[in-house]
């Protein structure tokens, strides 16, 4: 394996005496889709939130360990947190369009980092909306509030919004769980395309989805990583008993 995009070392996280993540060591390969899976409440979302430091918002959470992106330890750094977060686009379980029109949703990330030229913004917005196959559907109503879009369109809009700040990594937390099958398929197809230029980390508890798109799998249970590895090995020849029974659907 090449140098991983993200290396997590000895990551522990506790919340009010309850330990949520226990000594996590994970490598996430560059330009591949890494799927983090496991039953509900196993800490997969929390692990993802550590990666872009959204855990900072929760003042009661205690985090220790290292998360390396390249050579930089983003957990223990005095660097500007906004710079770190900009390296990662975030796609949440449900789309949360910002309270503004469609155009401004995509332009938001560019605007707040100081790119305000109208021509530039128009070009970039069109580019990213095309990239998520949304342009044709919204080009005549860019000034409408984003809330009027269907939920599937909103999720693609959120993806475009995340891509617009030019991240290296896409973090997706069950990005299709609120979507209909067709919209889900559009997102999955998009991910398969995007992985040539982005490293994608996706949390899911849908086994079939993981089988469809994963290149690399991290399996978690009760705050621990049970098994991780390339997808074909993981699904064809799991090493741990717990993984085997999970894959058989013995617990969920």
């Amino acid at each position: 394996m090449d140098q991983p995009e993200i290396s997590i070392r000895n990551l522990n996280l506790s919340f009010e005496k309850q330990q949520i993540l226990k000594n996590i060591n994970v490598d996430i390969p560059r330009h591949k889709i890494t799927v983090i899976m496991g039953p509900s409440g196993c800490g997969k979302t929390t692990l993802m939130r550590c990666m872009n430091r959204l855990t900072d918002l929760n003042t009661q959470a205690k985090v220790s360990g290292n998360i390396f992106i390249g050579d930089r330890d983003i957990l223990n750094t005095n660097d500007d947190i906004t710079e770190i977060r900009k390296m990662m686009g975030l796609l949440a379980q449900r789309p949360y369009p910002l309270p503004m029109n469609i155009f401004n949703n995509v332009a938001y990330g560019l605007r707040i980092s100081g790119r305000k030229k109208k021509r530039f913004l128009e070009k970039r917005v069109e580019h990213y909306l095309r990239q998520v196959n949304l342009w044709e559907e919204v080009k005549d109503r860019l000034r409408d509030p984003a809330a009027v879009l269907s939920i599937g369109q909103q999720q693609r809009l959120c993806l475009a919004r995340g891509l617009a700040v030019d991240p290296r990594i896409i973090l997706a937390d069950e990005p299709t769980s609120a979507l209909d099958p067709i919209s889900s398929q559009l997102i999955e197809e998009k991910f398969a395309e995007l992985k040539s230029s982005y490293t994608i980390v996706m949390v899911t508890h849908i086994l079939r989805q993981a089988r469809r798109i994963a290149d690399h799998v991290v399996f978690m249970y009760m705050g621990e990583v049970i098994e991780q590895g390339p997808a074909n090995e993981f699904f064809e020849n799991p090493q741990m008993e717990m993984t085997k029974s999970y894959l058989k659907g013995l617990f969920y």
Binding site: N52, E83, K86, L98, G109
Partner: protein, 301 residues
Amino acid sequence: MRFRLFDISRKLRNSIHTSWMIASLSIVLLIPLVLTAGLVIKSLPLLEQQPLLTLLFSSNWKPLSGEFGFYPFIVSSVWVTILALLFSIPICLLTSIHLTQYAKKWVLKIMQPVIDILAGIPSVIYGVWGILVIIPFISDHVAPFLGKSSSGYSILAGSIVLSIMVIPFVLNILIELFNNIPVELSEASLSLGATRWQTIKFVVLKKGLPGIISSFGLGMSRAFGETIAVLMVVGNVAKVPTGILQPGYPLPALIANNYGEMMSIPQYDAALMLSAFILFVVVLFFNAGSRLLIIRSGKHN
């Protein structure tokens, strides 16, 4: 057979209880209607004699000669209310943003009862506090500083006391409002590289704007109707105030000071009823407008 009997009594009991509920519901529903009708009927004698516009915009308040101009009272009410809101808006906004966006959880846990205590203090106590603290402060410091003289009993004193009374009321609405804005929305903004402040400015405040406006609308109707505390510090002189250091005479104070006295003067009763009706309509207007705004914005998002 026994079973059926039991069944009937059960149904009967059910309908009896239901009718109690409907009865109390209709009482609640009827009160505002009866109140409005009462106010209108009572103020009709005056309205039949003089046109409404003259009453509203005349500055002459001489009950003995039958002149009832409400203008000084309306102007006083508007001044006191608007000033009170100007004082309380920044405090409420900044406090609620800090408590919901920046502060640790335990700070909010401590502040919540403090706000409730502020809200629960009887208004007469605020009035006494105004007389003991605000009035001397205005007459000894504020007025000389502005190069004027004032007894302290003034529009300014009324609005300061009022603003403090409005704060807990508006603050509670704002805190709930900001807490109801999904965290995921802020997280989306942060993950795009926005700072905390950019997120608040462009996302949280924007999302909450209709609610913020309507919370101030509700605060406004509250302030407009507040009586005792304002009455105690505002001076109660029936003249159009020309500055904030001058005494004023808001509508609620007019009613509270005069109803039941000098009732032998013709039309006096009707005049006070009309001022009550004006007060009622204004408060209703702000209340309904604010609620409408909340409902509409809720649907839109």
